[in-house]
Amino acid sequence: MNHLSILIVIGIMAMMVLAFGLILFVIMYQRRIIAHQMELKNVNAQKELELVQASIQSEEEERMRIASELHDDVGATLASARLFLYKDKNSQFDEKIINQSKILLDESITKIRNISHKLQPATLQHLGLELSLQALVETLNKSEIMSATHVVLQPLPRVADNVELAVYRVSQEIIANILKHAKATSVTLETGVNEAGITILFTHDGAGLTQELYEMQIYKKGSTGLKNIVNRLKSINATIHFYVDDFYFFRALITIPFASTSKSEPI
């Protein structure tokens, strides 16, 4: 075999090696791009979560500010006016008008107190999620719009304030939706703890949502309530699953994993 033949063999081998090298380079380069894109996606998801958490937190702070303003300022002013009216028994005003004013003032004070409690659920902060949900159920029963039951399967542990607040708000939103859209006559709320985390199950006899319908609704224009549910649950890494049971009762199951229930610093 002469020199040129050897060179031809070496040349062919070198070209094959180069071709394989080029293919490998393209694959490795693309892998790097994929890794970079994944990293960017994760950063974006983290940023999005932080934004959601921040917006929820600012919303809660605003609610608390309005609640304390209503309770401490407007409520106190109305209460003072009421006191004056009660005290001034022998005035020159018509007693009928004074009594009417007293009734209206009492109503206003009660309404303001209710609004204040709704905006800033004091029971949640002091007594925890389980008793707050119990109070929510009792309020529903008092309203006589529908019958509500709270079943405690396992007592709920106290968890981070933001988690309790998010779950409470989501529960409020779900019950409001059941009242408004499902036209249910009864609702049962079951709270418990299992290996997946804390679970809250809503069962009602109205026309509810299935998971498929829920996933369609959240991408539609409007549906603010459902979007709020999604955002609040996302902010605490919780999940919600809608389904129909064997007896055709609609159910919504919220699962809060233990990893997201630990107390953490607010953003």
């Binding site: 394989f20 080029l22 791009i33």
Partner: protein
């Protein structure tokens, strides 16, 4: 009885060149002028060289095929570059263009020097030519056909 199929080989490589060039047309060529210039120049070179040879179309045009291989290598490199630059597909194995590039770059790099020196080797070392043909050309041709088959199975990218 020896049957000469070299005319069919010549026809095959020209048709293959046209098909592949039109496949790459919208993928790597920015304007039609450049594409038709490349296509007409290279195909004219091959046809003229084939017809001018001693045995005309009855003899396989290795130099012309060598030019085709070189063109395919350039097409494939440009195709790979377009894939990386445009980033239309995240996973390369889902792109037909990637598989066509892989197939033809392996085939062309294995065949380029072999076609270039085929006549020389036929005259000086027939045994070596047979060995190289078996070790490089045939496997790279098989790899090309496998890669093309995989590429054809993939959905056409938008």
């Amino acid at each position: 009885m020896h049957v000469n199929y070299d005319w069919a080989s010549n026809l095959f490589v020209v048709v293959e060149f046209f098909f592949l060039s039109f496949y790459y047309k919208n993928k790597i060529f920015k304007n039609n002028v450049l594409f038709y210039t490349v296509l007409s120049t290279i195909s004219t070179f091959f046809i003229v060289q084939t017809l001018r040879a001693d045995k005309s179309v009855w003899h396989f045009n290795t130099y012309g095929s060598c030019v085709f291989c070189l063109t395919y290598i350039i097409y494939c490199i440009a195709g790979m570059y377009a894939l990386l630059k445009e980033q239309k597909v995240i996973f390369l194995d889902r792109s037909p263009l990637f598989w066509v590039n892989v197939g033809f770059i392996l085939y062309s790099s294995g065949s380029f020097l072999l076609f270039l020196f085929k006549i020389y080797l036929q005259e000086t070392d027939m045994a070596l030519l047979r060995t190289l043909w078996t070790v490089f050309f045939l496997p790279s041709n098989i790899l090309k056909n496998i890669a093309l088959a995989i590429g054809l199975r993939k959905k056409i990218e938008p």
